[in-house]
Amino acid sequence: MQRYGELIIYAIIFFALVASVFALNIYLARQSEKEANDVFCATRLQQAWRKAQKNLAEVQNNLMTGSATKDNFLAFRAGIQTFDSIVTAFYFGGVVTLDGMDFALTKPEDPRSKRIINDLQEMWSPIKTEMLNLARSNPDDPSSINQDLLFRMVEYAITRDDAILDASQAFIVKLGELSQERIARLQFFQVAALIGIVVVFLAMAIRVTISLRKKDALLRRRTEQIIEQRDAIAKEKEKVDALLKDLQATQAQLVQSEKMASLGQMVAGLAHEVNTPLGFVRGNIEISQRNHRIISNALREHDKLRRNLESGEVDELERILLEAKESMEKINDYQLIEKTDKVFEESLQGIDRLQELVANLKNFSRLDEAVFKVADLNEGLDSALMIANNVIKHKATVKKNYAPNCLVECYPAQLNQVFLNLLTNAAQAIEDGKRGEICLSTAINGEWATVKISDNGKGIPKEHLNKIFEPFFTTKPVGQGTGLGLSIAYKIIERHNGAIDVESEVGKGSTFTIKLPVKQKKKAN
């Protein structure tokens, strides 16, 4: 705006100068018209005087010769009246009518022409009244003319004729000179104004050029700056990209480590579950082996006894009988036959349990069907429960309240991961040394299936409640939790177009509620 302000000032000066040139021209034209009038009037003044003076002399002559005087007198009257009116108009300012035209005259301002007019007035005023009185005489009656007055006026006119003529002549000349001077002066102003215009124009042009140059330079600098900034931004972007990549990698790593953690948890749970049946089945096999040794030994002894009896070798019969009896001692004492039977029975139970575990594990991981399908939420909960059993067993009793056939379209393996996470959390919420209770319930309500997992553990403080689904939020010590478990659970439920929510009270426990659409509108990914 400031830059434009300067230009506006230039423009105003420029236009003012142009306007002044026009004004001067107009003024000049007016002035020269007036001057022409003045010169015209001055000329007429001289003519009028000459006419009056000549005719006055004629009148005197005619009177003396007795010839007609009327025409001369009339001419004298007209001349002297005209003369008077012009002199008066020049001296006092006023309008003079000549040849039917009005001329407005003013007293000259220039002192030189003014002096001339003053001189004329001085010369004229002493005789003005008498002269005009004379002019008012009746021309038809020559006798009415005051001879004395006429004589004096003629004399006066003759004596003053030269002076008056000179003066009026000088006045005309002076008017001409003044006119010249003024024209010269005005032309000078015009030229000066024109020069001024040119100067202002040039100044403006230079100023504009400079400011354009400046703008240009500024523009170039700005452009450079923009380029620099762009480069900087590009670099920054690279950095941000790199950081983002890092972050993504870290996140991926964390997600991976969370996966590994839950895998580890799963393996730990499974290993514990497997170890127990494996332990006693192995023990039982060793016991069976031992028992088998004892029993087969007894059989051998009895076989020997039988053979000796059949062949009638009775020499050692007593010793062999004793041996056979001794070999039966342990078998009878410990009821080894029945017990071994039981041992086999129990071993088979153990094997069944292992089989069941493997089936359950398959059910949990669903590795063979990592696809979108209809699955029973109850089965998922049970398989997660089996995995989490080693964590839950010594801490809480589990109560189930399942709605039958809780079938939902989902990724079963993903949901099982969520269930495992929630179950582990529930178990961990129960303080050491206390016997807790974990309740699982499922329900189908129209289009929605609901799973509730609640515990009576220590609960979640209010200030944590809105953060628990955020990634990396954890209250566990560093290194013991990635803080991703629940955020992953949240993501998984979100992916199923469902909702996961929590209610909790410190000291009373927490309830996690999962709502899932029974049918997915569009295929979840």
Binding site: A268, H272, R282, N390, H394
Partner: protein, 327 residues
Amino acid sequence: MSKQKSQVLIVDDEPLVLSSLRNLLEFDYIVHTAESGREALKILTQFPIKVIMSDQRMPEMMGHEVLSEAKRISPATIRILLTGYSDLESIINSVNAGEIFRYISKPWKSEMILSVFKLGVQIYDRLSQFAPSPASMTSSEPTKPKVHIEVDEKSHSVLFVGYEDDEIKNLVEQIEKGYEVYKSQSIDEALRQIARKPVSVIVSNVNFGQDNALDFLNAVKSEYPEVVTVILTEVADANLAIRSINELNVFRYLIKPVSGDVFRQIIDNAVSQNQTYKEKPASNLIHAAKQIAPEVVASESQSESALRLKLRAAQLALSKAKPSGLG
């Protein structure tokens, strides 16, 4: 057979495990079984149980809690913990709380169970020979350090092995009023130090250099059975904890950081344990076990015997230099 059978107790929440173990052990022992900790403790008050073996993971009462209670009810009973999948926290808990004689991991081997029970019963019998009243045989009473520590100022010494000075600064400050404190950066240095003057308690790191801390502590223990060992480390390793009990009968397995107060308490207890070992060498379980059945106590590794040789060499060098030395 003619002798009356010893009584043992097995605790597991899994009946089939109990059944299997009973079948295994019943030829040699009168086997009591309990499906819960509560039941086990009741049996413990009713019968003279020589060996108790408990599963770690059980509902209500964890194995190490059962054994800890068992120690209170029947201190002379030899305690064995049966662990499934190694559970770090509970193992370290049990090291520090239960004075466990042995860990056995699932799935077990019958032979292992039989030999550990046999050894347990032998140690029990041997200890009761020395002390007719088993109740007085408390090998240590961690919560009540003996008063004489205060009186007998600086007659005990503590050796730190394998730490930077500043990482144990606080801990040293806590105990240096009461005890002579030595610091060794390496095992060699530590061996020389021990040869110069036997210490009461060794506080050792587990991972320094390529040397094995357990071998080192084992070597020291076999020469100075009364030395009490405390492991203080950042490494929470279940295997290491189990080995440190099974091979070394380590007094405490501490995971850094440890508060100064707790540490002083532990050292006081360790010193009092050392005093007990000196006065009644028979109360030293691992020592007793080594004497009764060296083959069952974890076999000595080559590096351990090398370390023992080093220790002996240091002793020899010292005794030559100072014939009238400490001996």
